[in-house]
């Protein structure tokens, strides 16, 4: 270690212009370990052959990160059985190598699973004995399913647990994860009761992700500590009902696969951010829920099926994002009554009726790219556009995005019948997807729409 450290005698970085040799070996141990902790373990081990300085560094790295095949000779195609054996040998050798006195904070294992759980079970004794803080276990099942050993679920030091691709048969197993803050369940096969049981053992859980898990049909997510939850429906398996009982929940995100799911959020009284996409909701459900959430600040409803009328009434809502661009959607009416609303983003076609009561609205972002099914810029289209825009007359700044310039060039005969829809607007920015051909007419139309403009930006 001593050989190369003399170069910089005063350590103040003088002689800056000298072309330095080996700089990286001069870094303090803590920094070198920090660097190595970003690498998969195989790469860290290989640095031990660089020089004496590096020989034992890898045994002090607080992270173990085993990736099957990816880093066993970079870019080389996996070679079935042979590679598998090499990987097994590598992990075995590493785990019996001198990590004895090293504090391991993070243990990651990503491997394909070919059956015979005893091998992985054996490896997982290591993070249990080392009392790691973060455990990331990604098992891609080839022909059989790996079942998580119960010892993992009693690790008192664990703060982050990411599980991917395994089976959790833990309906009655004891779960005790008193330090756990973050739990990600991805591609997990588990039943409703197993989830219940798991959450019961995580009294301080703050963040829960349930992505593409099969077997959850009518889950009850019960947690008084949880602050954020994200659910993504599986491709084949999805929940039919879901009840979330989390009185401190701040953010709830639901991404469905356009299947019907009856979601009960009634007890999530503290929720501030709500987001639904690909959900099969009813207008009644939205109408019942939204006014009850007295801390709601931001709501995002994206391509949700089955909603014909959206009525949003909430005293505190600040941001609203409605994306209704799917063809199957037959949204007919939007009514927004939100006196605290600051920003409103709307993407979709122009529905029959819209009413917006939001006196303090600062920004409206309107994307009229999606057209009506019949897709014609006829009198009906322009009439709807005028009616639509007139609801935003009190807004400070409006951005409009549309496909063709034609969509916004309002015919003269209509300009004679209707008053300017945005007569008070001062700031307007318009962007079209296709180049402008009739710039003058386009601008003229915009100035008719909003005659008091101080700023008009066209992109």
């Amino acid at each position: 270690m001593a050989t190369k450290r003399v170069k910089e005698k005063n350590g103040t970085g003088e002689n800056l212009d000298l072309e330095p040799e080996d700089r990286i070996s001069d870094l303090p141990d803590a920094v070198v370990l920090h660097i190595l902790s970003f690498l998969p373990t195989i790469a860290a081990v290989r640095t031990s052959f660089l020089s004496k300085r590096w020989r034992r560094m890898w045994t002090l790295v607080p992270v173990l990160d085993f990736y099957d095949q990816r880093d066993l000779d970079y870019l080389r195609k996996p070679n079935g059985n042979k590679d598998r054996k090499k990987f097994f040998k590598f992990v075995n050798e590493c785990l019996k190598h001198p990590y004895a006195d090293t504090t391991i904070t993070r243990f990651k294992l990503k491997a394909e699973f070919y059956g015979g759980g005893h091998r992985v079970d054996g490896w997982l004794k290591f993070p249990v004995n080392k009392s790691v803080k973060e455990l990331d276990l990604h098992v891609s099942p080839t022909n059989s399913v790996y079942c998580l050993p119960s010892a993992i679920l009693c690790m008192r030091t664990l703060t982050v647990l990411n599980l991917n691709g395994l089976e959790l048969l833990i309906s009655s197993t004891k779960v005790c994860l008193p330090s756990l803050k973050v739990l990600h369940l991805v591609n997990i096969d588990m039943h409703d009761l197993a989830l219940n049981n798991l959450l019961l053992g995580c009294p301080y859980l703050e963040k829960l992700h349930i992505h593409y898990c099969s077997g959850l049909l009518n889950p009850l997510v019960l947690s008084s500590s949880m602050k954020s939850m994200e659910y993504r429906a599986g491709y084949r398996n999805y929940a039919q009902t879901m009840e979330v009982d989390a009185r401190n929940l701040l953010s709830f995100v639901y991404k469905g696969g356009n299947n019907k799911c009856n979601i009960n959020l009634v007890r999530c009284v503290a929720v501030r951010n709500l987001s639904f996409s690909g959900a099969c909701l009813t207008h009644q459900w939205l109408e019942d829920l939204i006014p009850q959430l007295s801390f709601l600040e931001s709501l995002n409803v994206d391509s949700c099926y089955g909603v014909k009328h959206i009525k949003i009434m909430n005293q505190h809502l600040k941001n609203l994002d409605l994306d209704c661009r799917t063809d199957e959607l037959d949204l007919l009416e939007v009514a927004v009554d939100a006196p605290s609303l600051v920003s409103f983003t709307y993407s979709g076609y122009l529905m029959l009726r819209i009413s917006v009561n939001a006196p303090d609205l600062l920004y409206a972002d309107i994307n009229v790219c999606g057209q009506l099914k019949k897709a014609a810029y006829d009198m009906e289209w322009y009439t709807r556009l005028i009616n639509f825009l007139s609801e935003f007359n009190g807004t400070k700044k409006i951005h409009i995005f549309c496909g063709y310039e034609k969509a916004i060039i309002i015919p003269n005969e209509l300009r004679e019948i209707y008053p300017s829809p945005l007569s008070d607007l001062k700031y307007l920015k318009v962007k079209t997807a296709f180049p402008l051909f009739r710039k003058v007419m386009f601008k003229k139309s915009l100035l008719w729409i909003a005659p008091s403009l101080e700023t008009l930006a066209i992109e």
Binding site: E21, R23, T47, F49, S51
Partner: protein, 163 residues
């Protein structure tokens, strides 16, 4: 200890003096992104001039540039802020030569700029990732100082990492 008035005023200016005498005037909110400066400010209270004999002016300037960017980006709490920071970080480390990288890392480590250390160490890690031992040696000009035969011995002993 610290008087409450000094820690609460956000517009207070600090003078940072580098090893080569170059001084920088920075807002306290920017400089205290560095853990070491933050501690000094809390301990020394009213002291406005901070001497940093271990950091050269050129690199102190770069560290402060990074701090400034992150302090500014964090004040306006926009949704896309993380993205902006990430993009900016990427630019920041993109063309650093190894000498600069080394001195920046030493400076960031000395000044306890945790986030900056993360960024720079990850950059170094990315220069190691996916390379063979010989390639790493070449990249960083590392000379093997093993005795003749010693390297082969280690390789043989640890052949499981090489197969």
């Amino acid at each position: 200890m610290s008087s409450s008035s000094t820690t609460t005023t956000t517009t207070r200016l600090l003078m940072l003096k580098a090893s080569d005498g170059v001084t920088f005037e920075v807002e306290e909110a920017v400089a205290t992104k560095l853990g070491a400066i933050n501690n000094m400010v809390e301990e020394e209270g009213s002291e406005d001039l901070i001497c940093l004999p271990n950091v050269n002016g050129k690199f102190l300037g770069m560290v402060l540039e990074w701090c400034k960017k992150h302090a500014n980006n964090n004040t306006n709490s926009d949704k896309g802020n993380d993205e902006v920071n990430k993009w900016w970080d990427k630019e920041f480390v993109m063309d650093l030569d190894q000498n600069t990288l080394y001195h920046l890392l030493m400076a960031a480590d000395y000044l306890s700029g945790t986030e900056l250390v993360d960024l720079l160490t990850e950059k170094v890690a990315s220069m190691i990732r996916g390379k063979k031992v010989e390639e790493i040696r070449e990249t960083f000009k590392i000379k093997s100082d093993f005795l003749p035969g010693q390297e082969e011995e280690i390789r043989k002993k640890n052949s499981w990492a090489f197969e």
